[in-house]
């Protein structure tokens, strides 16, 4: 295979507030958007002709991926104006593809090893993997390496081999899309007409993020694989231990204690006397003032965190300004997404982009604060708050 189509048009509505400003594929894990992991996995397997189907918030993709040169690939963009489904998305790319191509979702985090064998597959083929909790995914029933049936999110457990949504197709597939909106339906059509689809299994990394707190587990899984590096400076009296990656021009001031696995971006100012504990990712242009502790959290770009803050198991999106003594301790919480309630054992706060928090704000475990919200001093925030909330 020389070419791949990446479907990155989807919104990821359940990941709000983080997907209000960017598509799901552009969520940042350990300092890189999920889409970048996909592109890099392809490049490392020798696939450099890439078509990306974009839609929702596509400028975020254009701005970051550009024409792919930076990642050693050549990218062509196809726009899916309305996000109607994966088959519909694929159909948009019909004029851009060669004879054989891989299809991958842009919002599942994979590594080169995940698809290393699959890139040599003959169409039509689907990549499957075994997973512990399969209730959220499409299940694939296979026999002798052939697909017998594909079921989207079945009610009863039917084995734990699931569809990674990574396929190997040839141009023939476009004849079968028809009115189908999703690719599994297209495959079931193929099967019904007696066509063979082979199934290959991988035990490589394949991670999905559906809810805001999933970002933390993906972050932790990936951070373990990032080699240490020092692009900035570490003042005397600061300690850096384990797998820690520090970006260019970042300063770690005295008395700070950084324990890996941790990734810190460029041009940050950490400390003095700041503890960053595993597994934490910090973006670019971030300031964390003295006597703060950040543990197992994901902090975006351009964030300022005031002194004496405690942040655990939390996700803070780009551009937040948080004055001193912000407390987001971890704890048990019941979090609502759409009409479902999820019980989480350890979760902190999830703050959308551009929030302004005055000093001494306390965040209840599991709080989701919408983008561009403002919170006055000494307030407690809890539950789920919409974008542009004002807490006085």
């Amino acid at each position: 295979m020389k070419q791949a189509v990446i479907l990155a048009a989807g919104e990821g509505q359940r990941l709000r507030p983080f997907t209000v400003t960017k598509p799901k594929a552009m969520l940042s894990i350990a300092g890189k958007p999920i889409l970048q992991y996909v592109v890099e996995a392809l490049a490392q397997n020798g696939i450099r002709q890439i078509v990306i189907v974009v839609g929702y918030k596509r400028e975020q993709v254009f701005d970051y991926m550009g024409d792919g040169e930076q990642f050693g690939v050549n990218i062509v963009y196809i726009t899916q104006e309305r996000q109607l489904g994966t088959a519909h998305a694929l159909a948009q790319a019909q004029d851009a593809v060669q004879n054989e191509f891989l299809v991958l979702p842009g919002d599942n985090l994979i590594r080169a090893g995940t698809i290393a064998r699959f890139v040599a597959s003959q169409p039509n083929a689907v990549l499957v993997t075994k997973i512990a909790n399969q209730a959220r995914y499409g299940v694939v029933i296979t026999e002798d390496g052939r697909v017998k049936d594909i079921m989207e999110k079945p009610k009863e457990a039917k084995g734990n081999t699931i569809n990674t949504s990574i396929y190997a197709f040839n141009r023939g597939i476009f004849d079968f899309i028809g009115a189908n909106l999703d690719i599994p339906d297209v495959l079931n059509d193929l099967l019904a007409r007696g066509y063979a689809i082979s199934a290959q299994e991988t035990d490589g990394l394949w991670l999905d993020v559906v809810y805001p707190w999933d970002i933390l587990s993906l972050n932790e899984a990936i951070l373990r694989q990032i080699p240490p590096s020092l692009g900035g400076s570490v003042e005397a009296g600061a300690a850096v231990k384990g797998l820690v990656s520090v970006g260019t021009d970042t300063v770690i001031r005295s008395g700070s204690y950084i324990v890996g696995p941790v990734v810190i971006g460029d041009n940050c100012e950490i400390g003095p006397n700041v503890s960053i504990l595993p597994s934490t990712s910090i973006g670019d242009n971030v300031v964390i003032a003295s006597l703060s502790e950040i543990k197992n959290s994901v902090i975006g770009d351009d964030v300022t965190i005031g002194p004496g803050s405690i942040i655990q198991d939390s996700v803070i999106d780009d551009g937040c300004v948080i004055k001193g003594r912000f407390t987001a301790c971890s704890g048990q919480a019941e979090v609502r997404v759409n009409d479902d309630y999820h019980l989480l054992a350890t979760v902190g706060a999830m703050l959308g982009a551009g929030c302004h928090l005055e000093s001494s704000v306390v965040a209840q475990p599991g709080v989701i604060l919408g983008n561009y919200s403002q919170v006055q001093s000494m307030k407690m925030i809890s539950g789920r708050m919409p974008d542009r909330s004002l807490v006085f």
Binding site: T21, V54, R58, E59, V61, F62, D63, M65, G66, D67, G68, E69, Q70, I75, Y77, T248, D249, D266, N267, D284, N285, V287, D301, D302, T304, D318, G319, V321, A353, G354, Y372
Partner: protein, 594 residues
């Protein structure tokens, strides 16, 4: 003002030249042409865009070639006036960027000597002069010919079947690109970046020869070596990558540009520039010079430096400054020029240096002429800007001026700390403006029906009003005009009617109240009024017909978010009106004529 390119190597020159020319089109695009040689000189040129020429041209075989894309200064755009130009024998071909001031007398003289001219251009004298002096050595002929010439030039010359290109530079930009068994010559780096990242910047007075293996440069009769640079920006930055227009792409790059700029400046332990005079408020005023958008950046610099340092600043349009009668003894001048090649600004810089003034340049192009004249250069790190309209480079200029002012500011420590925090928020705030594009698009659809649109601002948002109007002119071909809000009632108010929408830029500073009354005045005349204001401003919401809301920032930084909103407004208005946008009629990116 034009773009020129030359190639010599093992490959066929034609497609390489056309490819490079397409990247040079922002320098001029009313006509273009190429000439190649191996077995005679073959020329193909026309008054069309490069893409059209590529499709129409026959296959020209040759591994040595030159190319040109033109912005007419002498002679209207036409096939016969397009470059390359040749001599009577058709053996010498020349491409030229610049202006030959004494071309008329040279032309008369050459005609008297029997030469035949076909075009109206000044350039055509050059191949004929070379023909006249040619005696077996092309370099010597070019050198002698150039002694007769007065004016500015960057030229590349080829002669039939000779495996070399001769080049010369005087007051027009020219660079060399070094490859493997091949070499390039071009007006600027993006033209050849697809082929090589190794570049040599030529100096004024350089004249030399390029073969496929080496480069020889002379200056003033003596052999010189020029250092090789490795270019760090990739070709990607010079391509649209998903966006429909370079202008929109470059507007979207602004958060990253701000972040990079801040990164670079915070890294420096010493201040950005040694502006000793700025420490001492008793010193003479600082002078800032610029043209077009750079002049508006300078105007913002004035308000910001005066506010933070309490020292007087004077801002002048460079082309006018050059004709002022007084001789000033200025202590320091800041010259702002995106390309570093703006003729008006360079002339002013040279004039100031002669009076003993210290000159600091703010420019986006490393190694540009401005950086060579100035005592000190501060580079904006915006990457190449392909759209003729200045967007990210202007914002980067804003950032330099903010940083300079903050480094020397005299405000109290607490305010200063708060300002630095605010500065770090800017990438995010600008991104927020970009994320609210759809609202600005609606406003643009409304505005696209009008032919006259006025922009008003006060204080540091006056340059924003002026720049917003300029962007609208350039992008949408609409008569946008910026005014100081206080000046409207002294005349321009007579122009207002229902057919003249007014865009009022309202900042939460000491101009806020008086802007509200200006808005009431305008509403009383029936003009549609659109306010550009901080989100959540209810007073404005009630007064204005519609509001473009920008995120809350410290009033000092309001110009940053405001100008991004106006850039988008200009872009979408232009799109609605079906304008080409990136390469407007009659304009060129780097104005190297006065």
């Amino acid at each position: 003002m034009c773009g020129i390119v030359g190639y010599i190597g093992d490959r066929q020159a034609q497609s390489i030249l056309l490819n490079c020319l397409s990247k040079l089109e922002y320098r001029g695009y009313d006509s273009c042409g190429i000439a190649v040689t191996t077995d005679g000189v073959k020329v193909y040129k026309d008054a069309v865009r490069v893409e059209k020429l590529s499709k129409a041209s026959p296959r020209l075989v040759g591994t040595v070639g030159i190319g040109h894309t033109r912005w007419a200064t002498h002679g209207e755009p036409s096939q016969v006036n397009a470059h390359p130009h040749i001599d009577c024998t058709g053996k010498v071909a020349v491409v030229h960027n610049g202006i030959i001031n004494n071309y008329r007398s040279l032309r008369e003289q050459l005609i008297g000597e029997g030469h035949k001219f076909v075009s109206e251009t000044d350039t055509e004298v050059i191949p004929h002069l070379i023909e006249k002096y040619y005696d077996g050595n092309l370099e010597e002929a070019v050198e002698t010919a150039l002694r007769d010439v007065e004016g500015s030039y960057a030229i590349i010359v080829l002669r039939t079947d000779e495996p070399k290109l001769v080049f010369a530079r005087k007051d027009s930009p020219l660079i060399l690109g070094l490859g493997d068994r091949e070499n390039f010559i071009a007006s600027d780096v993006p033209a050849i970046l697809g082929y090589t990242g190794r570049v040599i910047y030529l100096e004024d007075g350089d004249i030399g020869v390029v073969t496929k293996h080496d480069v020889k440069i002379k200056n003033d009769g003596a052999k010189v070596t020029r250092p090789e640079h490795k270019i760090l920006w990739g070709v990607e930055e010079a391509q649209k990558a998903g966006y429909e227009h370079f202008m929109l792409k470059e507007i979207h790059e602004q958060p990253r540009v701000i972040r990079n700029t801040l990164g670079e400046y915070t890294r420096e332990t010493d201040p950005l520039a040694d502006l000793a005079v700025m420490r001492d408020a008793d010193a003479g005023a600082v002078l800032i010079l610029g043209c077009g958008s750079s002049y508006y950046a300078g105007l913002l610099g004035k308000y910001v430096i005066e506010e933070l340092l309490g020292m007087p600043v004077r801002v002048e349009v460079a082309s006018e400054f050059n004709y002022y009668s007084h001789t000033l003894a200025r202590t320091m001048a800041i010259a702002i020029t995106q390309s570093g090649e703006t003729a008006d600004t360079l002339k002013a810089m040279k004039k100031l240096k002669e009076t003993g003034c210290r000159v600091v340049a703010i420019t986006n192009v490393v190694g540009s002429t401005a950086s060579r004249i100035a005592d000190q250069t501060i580079y904006t790190r915006a990457g190449p800007e392909i759209s003729v309209l200045a967007t990210k480079t202007l914002l980067a200029q804003f950032m330099v001026l903010y940083w300079l002012a903050l480094s020397y500011s005299k405000v109290d420590a607490r305010r200063l700390a708060s300002l630095f925090t605010g500065l770090r928020q800017l990438p995010s705030k600008v991104q927020q403006v970009l994320d609210s594009e759809s609202k600005i698009m609606e406003c643009a659809q409304y505005l696209s029906k009008f032919e006259h649109i006025f922009f008003i601002g006060r204080g540091k948002n006056l340059p924003v009003a002026l720049e917003g109007a300029l962007k609208l002119k350039e992008a949408a071909y609409v008569h946008g005009e910026g005014f100081a809000a206080g000046e409207i009632k002294h005349g321009p108010l007579a122009l207002l009617s229902r057919q003249t929408p007014v865009i009022a830029i309202v900042a939460r500073d000491n101009t806020y109240e008086v802007m509200l009354s200006n808005i009431r005045e305008i509403k009383a005349r029936g003009s549609p009024l659109i306010a550009l204001a901080e989100e959540g401003d209810e007073a404005i919401g009630e007064l204005a017909d519609s509001v473009i809301a920008v995120p809350k920032v410290d009033a000092l930084f309001s110009p940053v978010v405001n100008i991004v909103a106006l850039q988008l407004l200009a872009y979408y208005t232009a799109k609605e009106r079906g304008c080409p946008i990136d390469f407007p009629r009659n304009l060129a990116k780097s104005v190297t004529v006065e």
